[in-house]
């Protein structure tokens, strides 16, 4: 299949997911105004969160040279969720600047902590990295639960952060997530060639002229911005950041300049489709999108583990 056909297929899927996102679901007598007022922002939020997760996953897999890395497994999303819940506890405006600043700080600190805990003797083992990410993720999740029990008033938004759920949203939520996504993508795209080089190991990248420590710091900051955009839009949705880069790498190759772009497109389509399914499968009840992603994503993770024959470790 030619690359142009693959792009056409991807755009077609994106369009289908967008149509499903706006028009599907338990709506009696839908009218245009309702669709524009409620469904369009919700679909846009799902697209933003999915795009941010797809892009974030491909950056993490490149810079950590680990095909099992994603913002959910590495604790980045949980860190952003914890930061957001702290903002709620401090009485900051939901989806305001302080809220996003704390979510960003949480995402960056969680990723950096998981990475440095896994690093020993100048090397980072993939197995240790995944384990330390899972531990950081569990720790942040436990703190969020602790907060929910202590402050029952704010427990519903906190629960939505943990489960991952897209709702109708507000203009400030949409704007905040869009700004963070654009900021993250703008920070990461210029790094794409250096991300290609670090795929051959830090030592090789150094010899090719890459300042590897600076690259890792910039990539983690960019990934934290993207994770914040995703958490702000849809809470901690897992596995999109893992599965989408894999699928796109298989279709378009490992070149990160292309991969970041197509992973964003595919992630947007995937989460819009998941959100549409979440609204329709048990209508009129809604399933949290994060739950559906975990139902599909966890078997995919296990499939990758089985297929890898332990070569990632």
């Amino acid at each position: 299949m030619k690359n142009s056909s693959r792009y056409a297929l991807l755009l077609l899927g994106l369009l289908a997911a967008a149509i499903a996102g706006v028009f599907s679901g338990a709506v009696q007598n839908p009218d245009l105004e309702m669709l524009l007022r409620l469904r369009l922002p919700r679909t846009l939020l799902a697209a933003l969160a999915g795009a941010a997760l797809g892009c974030c996953g491909s950056v993490m897999q490149a810079v950590l040279r680990n095909p099992l890395a994603d913002p959910y497994i590495m604790g980045t999303s949980a860190g952003a969720g914890l930061g957001a819940v702290c903002a709620l506890a401090l009485g900051l405006q939901t989806h305001g600047p302080g809220f996003y600043a704390l979510a960003f700080a949480g995402a960056f600190c969680a990723t950096a902590f998981a990475y440095f805990m896994a690093r020993a003797g100048g090397k980072t083992s993939a197995a240790t990295l995944v384990l330390s990410g899972v531990m950081v993720s569990s720790f942040c999740g436990a703190l969020i639960l602790f907060f929910m029990i202590a402050r029952q008033k704010e427990s519903l938004p906190a629960l939505l952060f943990i489960m991952g759920s897209v709702n109708e949203g507000s203009p400030s939520q949409l704007l905040g997530s869009a700004a963070l996504f654009l900021g993250g993508a703008a920070a990461l795209l210029p790094l794409s060639r250096r991300l290609d080089a670090i795929s051959f190991g830090e030592e090789k990248a150094f010899y090719l002229g890459v300042n590897t420590e600076r690259l890792k710091l910039r990539a983690m900051l960019g990934a934290a911005l993207l994770a914040c955009a995703a958490v702000g839009a849809a809470g901690t949705v897992g596995f999109i950041g893992l599965a989408v880069p894999h699928l796109m790498r298989a279709l378009f190759g490992p070149n990160n300049r292309r991969l970041l772009f197509v992973s964003a497109l595919c992630g947007a389509g995937a989460l819009m489709a998941v959100d549409a399914a979440a609204r329709t499968l048990l209508a009129p009840a809604e399933i949290p999108a994060g739950l559906l992603c975990a139902l599909c994503g966890a078997p995919f993770f296990l499939y990758l583990l089985k297929r890898s024959k332990n070569e990632f470790f």
């Binding site: 095909p67 210029p190 794409s192 190991g201």
Partner: protein
């Protein structure tokens, strides 16, 4: 290893230790254009550490490395990479980049991220692949090649940027006899054309036959250095490896010595 030519890479009194163990101890050398230096010594004698110090990957505890007279750690990363190409012993290849993409990688890093490889860059990559005899696999994924082929792809990557200094750590470790011979002849030819080459080699006969200069290390210290003829003698080989060495034509024959410390 003195030469009338201006040195490209110099090391003065290099020391480096891991956890208190002196891996490299007061080693000095000079690498000039056209020189092919073979670095040899027993396992754990500090060869790879010395190469990493010369490449700027490790910072010496004492001593300094100069690139064209300038402190190596003050040279910007892209300028260093343009002058010094390094072939590590076992480069990783996590994702399926094509052979051509891999060879082009050094060139592409010098371009703005939005620009594609131009005809000139593609031509240098194809020429580098031709030099290592892999032009027929340019479109294949690197991960589908054997370890020997991958080693030659990374040699092509090192040559593609047109470096002035080439540092190699066991460049022939995965190669069959024919490709071993082709690689050693290629390195000699590149040195004859003016490239400064330093290679960690285990095979003393390779050092004797293809290198212009040799440096023998033992316990991190220089045991012998100079032209190959000066550095490789039965005495220096006995002192470094604890074996009996006898010259046989242009090559060497070895036997275990009773006095061997090992």
């Amino acid at each position: 290893m003195n030469s009338s030519k201006t040195p490209l890479l110099e090391a003065h009194g290099l020391c480096f230790s891991y956890n208190g163990h002196n891996a490299v101890d007061k080693v000095s050398l000079t690498l000039t254009a056209g020189q092919f230096l073979g670095i040899a010594g027993p396992n754990g004698s500090g060869k790879s550490t010395l190469l990493r110090l010369l490449a700027g990957r490790l910072k010496p505890g004492k001593g300094r490395v100069l690139l064209r007279g300038r402190e190596l750690n003050l040279v910007p990363a892209h300028s260093r990479a343009a002058e010094i190409a390094v072939l590590p012993p076992e480069p990783e290849s996590t994702y399926g980049f094509s052979v051509l993409e891999t060879v082009l990688m050094g060139k592409m890093l010098a371009l703005p991220w939005w620009r594609d490889a131009d005809g000139k860059a593609l031509q240098s990559a194809e020429e580098a692949l031709e030099l290592v005899g892999l032009e027929s696999v340019a479109r294949r994924a690197l991960t589908s090649l054997s370890s020997g082929e991958r080693q030659r792809v990374f040699l092509a990557q090192a040559l593609c940027g047109g470096p002035k200094v080439l540092l190699l750590d066991e460049p022939t470790s995965h190669l069959d006899l024919r490709h071993w011979l082709e690689t050693m002849l290629l390195l000699k030819k590149l040195a004859d054309k003016g490239l400064a080459v330093a290679a960690v080699l285990h095979d003393i006969n390779s050092v004797a036959e293809y290198c212009s200069h040799a440096l023998l290390l033992k316990d991190g210290r220089t045991s012998a250095s100079g032209t190959t003829r000066q550095a490789l003698t039965p005495e220096t080989l006995r002192s470094v490896y604890g074996i009996e060495a006898r010259q046989n034509g242009s090559g060497w024959r070895f036997a275990l010595s009773d006095a061997s410390p090992h």
